[in-house]
């Protein structure tokens, strides 16, 4: 048995500049006039809530906005996500959600897929098991909104 509970890692790797920037100044925060889909997802860990509003037309996410309060990770994930799915076909948005979820749950030293764009800033969360749910909350509410069909 090791005499240490976990290897030391740097929180700077978790709170990368991109994440801190989106936490401080979230993009697409607020309500969305003309939204066609909505969903609210809770983080049972802390009671944080993310509400996603989407306007879907022509098989693509035309506009997206989010509301709710949460930790730096959940806010930044929601903010970055909105910038990436805006204008993206619904199928491709779902694929991005799947890819991000797999990435967050991958080994800390696994390759980081280029397709994730700014979401690659979440590489550090792979070492913080209890915080993965914070990173995934926004995409889960996106998927739930797309599934809701209203």
């Amino acid at each position: 048995m090791s005499d240490q509970r976990a290897p030391r890692t740097d929180v700077d790797d978790l709170y990368q500049a991109t994440i801190v920037d989106h936490d401080r100044a979230p993009r697409n925060l607020g309500a969305l006039a003309g939204a066609t889909h909505h969903a609210t997802v809770d983080n049972p860990l802390c009671g944080d809530v993310v509400t996603m509003h989407i306007r879907v037309a022509d098989g693509a996410v035309q506009e997206v906005a989010f509301e709710g309060r949460g930790c730096a990770l959940s806010r930044a994930a929601a903010s970055i996500m909105t910038t990436m799915v805006q204008g993206r076909p619904v199928d491709a948005s779902r694929q991005l959600a799947t890819a991000f979820e797999q990435f967050v749950q991958s080994a800390p030293d696994a390759a980081i897929p280029d397709e994730l764009g700014d979401l690659r800033a979440f590489s550090g969360v792979r070492r913080f098991r209890s915080r993965r749910v914070c990173a995934m909350l926004a995409f889960r509410s996106l998927i739930q909104a797309l599934d809701s069909g209203t």
Binding site: D3, Q4, R5, V20
Partner: protein, 403 residues
């Protein structure tokens, strides 16, 4: 006599294991307290020497287990000033409260009746009453607190009438760190004909508890916050109340005699203990209480009180920090402007400092205080000044990391 924190710390092996390469600073004992070596030894001993089942075998191991188990029940009774036959062993505070709700509650709370819980309650002393009231057509009312998180006794007095059957209150809030005046609450409730259920989960490890002096009717607590194994808990109830209460779970161990079509139930406490109990856990709880009896508890209380004042004042002095309520003992919950509690807890964890973040199973109280979540530092007898210094130093890093 003064407490020697370093010596106390050495008795708890979990504190000796570094975290992330740092001296382990454990400030989450309100969630779960660590076990002293004597408790660990007592539990290990059960699996080797007292490995039989209780109250049924006549062989040597069963007799040894039964003797140790009954001795633990007696220790628990002495610890809180009750009698052994008033001590119902449960899986924890939550199960103890549910027992009262399901057994006493269903028998005594009906349509139009009222149950009162305070605004400070942990979900475990709130949700069971919501369920009981919904099922029985009764109303749940919340006794308000002021902004210091002190119970508003005048408001409570105004809520009490003959429709109120039960008042649920925590003795020491797991978020606000405030101590409720249980004797006054009990006197007021009894005058209205209501019984009082006290959640003692946080109190038992910090305050001297005497159920007779408190004047309550039921007192619930958990072993895992009292330096004992998880899956252990206690419901103390007045003998006359327990004797008149129906069983809530049935099966082996709790019956006097059984025919194919009926069973005659045993007297309390066994009536409420269906199935094989957590033998090793209960014996571990007895060992934890014996361990506490070897300490100078008055000196421990002074030590904890001094540390708590330092913790509270040091946190309140930090820029951007808001301490929730006006804590009196054991816990300090706080928020930091611009930093979510989860981020705070993650960052200080990497400095080896363990604190809790979230709503600590008291979501309505957080909403009452106008926040979604908080960070919480909580103390036990093994904490020292270095632990508080480490938390404060690490909080400075929170601002650096989140810029």
């Amino acid at each position: 006599m003064d407490v020697d924190p370093a010596a106390l710390r050495r008795e708890f092996p979990a504190l000796g294991v570094p975290v992330h390469g740092r001296r382990f600073v454990y400030l989450d004992s309100a969630s779960i307290a660590f076990k002293p070596q004597v408790v660990i030894d007592a539990v290990v001993r059960v699996f080797i020497h007292d490995a039989g089942n209780v109250h049924r075998g006549v062989h040597a191991l069963s007799e040894a287990a039964t003797e140790a188990f009954d001795a633990a029940r007696a220790e628990i009774a002495r610890f809180i000033g009750g009698q052994p036959d008033e001590i119902v062993l449960t899986g924890g505070t939550t199960e103890a409260v549910n027992l009262v709700a399901h057994s006493w509650g269903r028998a005594h709370v009906g349509p139009g009746d009222v149950v009162i819980a305070t605004a400070l309650e942990h979900h475990s002393n709130l949700v069971p009453w919501q369920g009981l009231c919904a099922e029985r057509g009764a109303t749940l009312r919340i006794a308000p607190i002021d902004d210091r998180c002190r119970l508003d006794l005048a408001a409570l007095a105004g809520m009490l009438d003959d429709r109120v059957k039960l008042v649920a209150a925590c003795q020491l809030s797991n978020v606000a760190g405030t101590i409720a005046p249980i004797p006054e609450i009990a006197a007021m409730a009894h005058a209205a004909g209501a019984v009082v259920v006290v959640d003692g989960a946080q109190a038992v490890s910090h305050l001297a508890v005497d159920v007779t002096a408190l004047g309550c009717d039921f007192y619930a607590f958990s072993g895992h916050k009292l330096f004992a194994p998880t899956g252990t808990g206690v419901l103390w109830g007045r003998r006359a109340l327990l004797a008149a209460m129906p069983a809530w779970q049935t099966g082996g161990e709790m019956v006097a005699s059984v025919d194919y079509d009926r069973a005659r139930l045993r007297e309390p406490p066994h009536r409420f203990e269906a199935g094989t109990p957590n033998i090793a856990g209960v014996i571990g709880l007895g060992a934890a209480i014996r361990y506490l009896a070897t300490l100078d508890r008055a000196a421990i209380a002074r030590h904890e009180a001094r540390l708590h004042r330092r913790l509270r004042d040091a946190l309140a002095a930090q820029e951007g920090v808001r301490v929730l309520g006006d804590p009196e003992a054991a816990v300090v919950a706080f928020t930091v402007a611009g930093a979510h509690p989860h981020d705070i807890a993650t960052i200080v964890d990497r400095d080896g400092v363990a604190i809790r973040s979230g709503h600590h199973c008291a979501e309505p109280l957080h909403h009452r205080l106008g926040v979604d979540a908080s960070a919480r530092a909580s103390l036990a007898l093994y904490n020292d000044d270095a632990d508080i210094d480490a938390l404060i130093a690490s909080l400075l890093r929170v601002r650096q990391v989140l810029r």
